[in-house]
C-alpha cells in the first residue's frame, strides 16, 4: 500500500514537471502563468509524498517493500530507520530528486531576476529533474514490492549506522545536486543572452551555498572515515573521495571567479564554463560510483544497466550544455585588465591552478579504467600518486593565497606592503628556527609556513579593514578574509596530522601499562555489553601523562547480530592540539593487540572547515 502511494507520487511528480515545461511553451497566454507555478509546487508536493512514503515504510518496518526488506531490520534504532531511507542506492536517488525539486521551488521565490530568466531556469531544472526521475523509475525504483512474504529484513550495513554518516548524504547532496540549479541558471542566462549584473548576483549566492554545503558534506564524510574505519587517517584518496573533490575544486574556482566578475564584469564566458563543468563532474562522479566501475570501499551494489543509463545522462546533459555554450557564449568586447599584480590576476592564476589540480585527480581516478579496457591489466592509483602530484600543483595556489590580501582590486599599487613583508619574514624565520630545532621535514615546514602566512596576511588585512570601517559590520566586510584564515588553520592541521602522525603497536593484558613517549596507557578492564542490535566488547583504557591522569578512552568491537559483522569503534581522546586514537585488535593468550595513533592538530582541520562554512554563509546573506 505505502509503496503504491510512494510510486504514484513519483509518477505524478514526473507528470507535473512535464506540465511545467509544456506550459512554458504556451506562456503567451496569461492563464498558463498560474499553471506553470502551480504545477511546479504540485511536483514538489508529490515528490515529498513519495519520499516520506519511503521513509514511513522504513520507520514502520514495512517489509513488503523490497528496498526496506533489503536494507532494514526491525531491531534497528529509530534514528537509523529514518536515515536508512538514504543509506542505499535507490533511496539516495530519491533524496537526490527531492533536493532537485526543492531547489527548483525555492529558486522560484527569487525576485531579483527578471521573470523570463527565472522561468527558463525553472524549465531547465525541471528538464534535469525529468532525466533523473526517469533514471529512478526505470532502473532504481525504491518502491518495488517484495516477492517473498517476510516479516524481517536483511539489515543495514552496520558501518553506516552512525550519526555522522546519517546526515552526511543529505548535506553532500544539497551541495552536489545544487550544482544542477547553477547549470540551469547558466543555460538560461546563455540562451536569453542575459548574463547581466543581476544574473551574476543571483548565481553567486546559489553557487556559494551549494559549494559550502558540499564542503560540509565532504568534511562530515571524512570525519566519519576518521573515527569509524579505524585506519587512523581521515582522507584516503579513495575514488569516491576523489569524485567528490572534483566538483568541489571546480566549485571553488567558480565562487572565486564570481568574485572577479563582480569587480570587473568580465570573464562571463569562464563563469558559465565552470558552472557547466561543476554539474557535469557531479554526474560523472555519480556514474563512477554507482556503476561499480571503480573498485572502492564505498561501492554500491553494481548494476550494469544503471551505469549505462547514467553514462547516457552524463553525455546528454554535458553535450547539450557545451553545445549551447559554444553556440551562444557571449562575446564581450571589453578585455580583462590584468595589470599583473592585482587581485584579479591572482584569482585567474588560482583558477588555472585549481583546474589543473582537478584534471590531475580525474586522470588518476579514471586511468585504471582506461588501462583495464586497453590492456586488460588491472592496477590501482593510490595515495602516493596524489600526494606527489596534487599537492605540489596546489602549492603555488596557496602561495598566491597568502600574498593576495596585500594586492589591490583595481590598481597595480601594493597596499601597505611593508607591514605584510615584515610579518611574513618574521614568521618564516621563527618557523624555520622552530622546525630546525625540532623535527625538520620539508613538507611539514612548507605546509606550516604557508598556513601561517595565509593566517597572518588575512589577519593583517582584517586589521586594516577594522581601522577603515571601525568594526562596523565586522563579519560582512571581512567574511572572505575570515574564510581564508579557516583555510590557513586547515592547512596547518592537515600538515601536522599527516606528517607528524605516529603509530605504535602493542600487546597488552588487563592491568598492564604500556609507554609511548611521555604518555602511558593502562588497560583497566574489558567488558561485554548487550545492546539492542549488537553486542559490544568494550576495552577501557586509562591515559596518563607523566603519572598525571588525563582521561579514559573506550575502544570497542561490535558484533551486529543481523548482518553477522564485526565493526571496530576507535576510541578517540580529542584534545585541542592532539588526538589519541586507539584501536582494539585481536586477542591471543589473553593479550590484546592494540594500535595507538598520535595525531597532532587534527582538530584544526575541523575547526578550519567550520570557520570557512560559517563565514561563507555570512557572505551569502549579507546586505
Amino acid at each position: 500500500m505505502i509503496s503504491l502511494i510512494g510510486f504514484s507520487g513519483l509518477i505524478l511528480s514526473f507528470i507535473f514537471n512535464v506540465i511545467v515545461i509544456v506550459s512554458y511553451y504556451y506562456k503567451i497566454n496569461q492563464r498558463f502563468n498560474h499553471i506553470f507555478y502551480l504545477a511546479l509546487y504540485c511536483s514538489l508536493f508529490f515528490m515529498c509524498l513519495s519520499f516520506f512514503a519511503l521513509m514511513f515504510a522504513y520507520i514502520s518496518s514495512d517489509f513488503s517493500n523490497f528496498n526496506v526488506f533489503q536494507n532494514s531490520h526491525s531491531s534497528k534504532p529509530l534514528l537509523y530507520k529514518i536515515t536508512g531511507t538514504w543509506g542505499n542506492h535507490e533511496g539516495s536517488m530519491l533524496l537526490w530528486l527531492l533536493i532537485m525539486s526543492l531547489y527548483n521551488v525555492f529558486f522560484s521565490f527569487n525576485i531579483t531576476l527578471e521573470d523570463h530568466v527565472r522561468k527558463l531556469t525553472i524549465v531547465f531544472q525541471s528538464f534535469l529533474y525529468l532525466c533523473f526521475s526517469l533514471f529512478v523509475i526505470l532502473t532504481s525504483n525504491p518502491f518495488l514490492v517484495n516477492s517473498i512474504d517476510s516479516n524481517e529484513g536483511l539489515g543495514l550495513n552496520p558501518i553506516l549506522q552512525d550519526p555522522a554518516l546519517a546526515i552526511h548524504p543529505p548535506v553532500l547532496y544539497i551541495g552536489y545536486v545544487g550544482f544542477s540549479l547553477i547549470l540551469s541558471l547558466a543555460l538560461a542566462g546563455l540562451i536569453l543572452n542575459q548574463l547581466d549584473n543581476l544574473w551574476i548576483q543571483v548565481i553567486k549566492r546559489w553557487a556559494m551555498f551549494c559549494w559550502l554545503m558540499l564542503t560540509g558534506g565532504i568534511a562530515l564524510g571524512s570525519y566519519w572515515a576518521y573515527y569509524e574505519l579505524g585506519w587512523g587517517g581521515w582522507w584516503f584518496w579513495d575514488p569516491v573521495e576523489n569524485v567528490s573533490l572534483m566538483p568541489w575544486i571546480t566549485g571553488l574556482a567558480l565562487v572565486h571567479s564570481l568574485m572577479i566578475t563582480k569587480q570587473e564584469q568580465l570573464l562571463k564566458r569562464w563563469v558559465v564554463f565552470l558552472s557547466i563543468l561543476c554539474f557535469s563532474l557531479s554526474i560523472l562522479g555519480t556514474f563512477l560510483v554507482r556503476s561499480g566501475i571503480l573498485t572502492s570501499v564505498h561501492s554500491f551494489a553494481a548494476d550494469a544497466s544503471r551505469g549505462i543509463f547514467i553514462l547516457i545522462l552524463f553525455l546528454t546533459i554535458t553535450g547539450f550544455s557545451f553545445i549551447i555554450f559554444i553556440l551562444k557564449s557571449p562575446h564581450s568586447n571589453k578585455q580583462i585588465n590584468l595589470l599583473f599584480i592585482n587581485k584579479t590576476s591572482a584569482l585567474i592564476i588560482n583558477n588555472i591552478v585549481m583546474l589543473i589540480a582537478c584534471i590531475t585527480i580525474l586522470l588518476g581516478t579514471i586511468y585504471p579504467i582506461i588501462i583495464e579496457v586497453l590492456t586488460n591489466k588491472r592496477m590501482s592509483v593510490g595515495a602516493p600518486y596524489y600526494n606527489s602530484t596534487v599537492l605540489p600543483i596546489l602549492l603555488p595556489g596557496f602561495l598566491i593565497m597568502s600574498i593576495a590580501p596585500m594586492l589591490s582590486w583595481q590598481s597595480n599599487k601594493l597596499d601597505k606592503i611593508k607591514n605584510y613583508i615584515y610579518i611574513l619574514i618574521v614568521i618564516s624565520i621563527l618557523t624555520l628556527l622552530i622546525t630546525y630545532l625540532t623535527k625538520f621535514n620539508i613538507w611539514g615546514f612548507t605546509g606550516t609556513i604557508l598556513g601561517l602566512w595565509i593566517i597572518a596576511a588575512s589577519l593583517l588585512s582584517i586589521l586594516h579593514n577594522c581601522l577603515k570601517y571601525k568594526f562596523k559590520k565586522f563579519f560582512i566586510y571581512n567574511n572572505a578574509l575570515i574564510a581564508h584564515m579557516g583555510v590557513g588553520i586547515m592547512i596547518i592541521g592537515i600538515t601536522f596530522s599527516s606528517i607528524f602522525q605516529t603509530k605504535n603497536n602493542f600487546t597488552i593484558q588487563t592491568g598492564e601499562i604500556v609507554n609511548s613517549g611521555q604518555y602511558s596507557l593502562q588497560l583497566k578492564n574489558l567488558k561485554i555489553e548487550e545492546k539492542n542490535n549488537f553486542q559490544e566488547l568494550l576495552g577501557i583504557f586509562l591515559l596518563h601523562k607523566k603519572n598525571e591522569f588525563l582521561t579514559t578512552i573506550k575502544s570497542s568491537k561490535r558484533y551486529y547480530y543481523v548482518s553477522k559483522v564485526i565493526t571496530t569503534e576507535a576510541g578517540i581522546y580529542h584534545d585541542w592540539f592532539q588526538d589519541f586514537y586507539l584501536v582494539l585488535g585481536n586477542e591471543k593468550n589473553n593479550k590484546w593487540s592494540i594500535t595507538i595513533y598520535h595525531n597532532p592538530l587534527v582538530s584544526f582541520i575541523w575547526i578550519g572547515v567550520m570557520i570557512m562554512i560559517f563565514s561563507g554563509m555570512v557572505g551569502i546573506f549579507k546586505r
Partner: protein, 146 residues
C-alpha cells in the same frame, strides 16, 4: 602594457604550469602505479623482487598464523597458486579464512610478500569486480561469495 601582451603572458604562464604538471604526473605515475594481480597472474607477470603490488584472492583455510606482537602470516590463494603474506599490524574486522581479501605490499621473493596494508571492506558482500571476474575464470567462484 598592451592587452595582447598580457594575454600572451597569461597563456605562457598556463603553458609552463601545465607542462610542469604533466611532467609531475608522468614522473610520478611511473613510480606510484601499483598493479593488481591474483596469485596466478603474479607468477606469470614480469614483476621483480621489491616491486609494490596488490594481490587479491581468498585467505586459505587454516593458514593464518598469529606470531604475536601484531605479526601475522597467511596464504592468499586463487585455487591454482598461492602467495605467502607477512603482515605486521591490526587485521581488519572482516578478515577471515576463506574470505576475499586484497593486500598491498612489496615482493620479498617470488611467492612471499611483505604487506603494508590489508584492505578492509565496508561490506561483507563486496568484492572488487575485477577479482570476481578473474575468480570466475578460474572456476573458484562460489555463489555464496557473492
Amino acid at each position: 602594457m598592451t592587452i595582447r601582451f598580457q594575454r600572451l603572458l597569461l597563456i605562457l604562464f598556463s603553458l609552463i604550469f601545465l607542462s610542469s604538471a604533466i611532467l609531475l604526473i608522468l614522473f610520478n605515475s611511473k613510480k606510484n602505479l601499483v598493479f593488481f594481480f591474483t596469485p596466478s597472474e603474479l607468477i606469470n607477470s614480469d614483476s621483480t623482487i621489491n616491486d609494490v603490488v596488490r594481490i587479491g584472492g581468498f585467505v586459505e583455510k587454516d593458514s593464518i598464523i598469529n606470531k604475536g606482537n601484531n605479526s601475522y602470516n597467511f596464504v592468499i590463494t586463487d585455487n591454482n597458486n598461492k602467495v605467502l603474506v607477512e603482515y605486521n599490524g591490526l587485521l581488519p574486522d572482516l578478515f577471515k579464512e576463506e574470505q576475499g581479501v586484497v593486500i598491498e605490499g612489496r615482493l620479498k621473493s617470488d611467492f612471499t610478500i611483505h604487506a603494508f596494508t590489508v584492505f578492509a571492506k565496508h561490506d561483507e558482500n563486496y568484492m572488487p569486480a575485477s577479482i570476481q571476474k578473474q575468480l570466475q575464470k578460474n572456476q573458484y567462484w562460489k555463489k555464496n561469495y557473492k
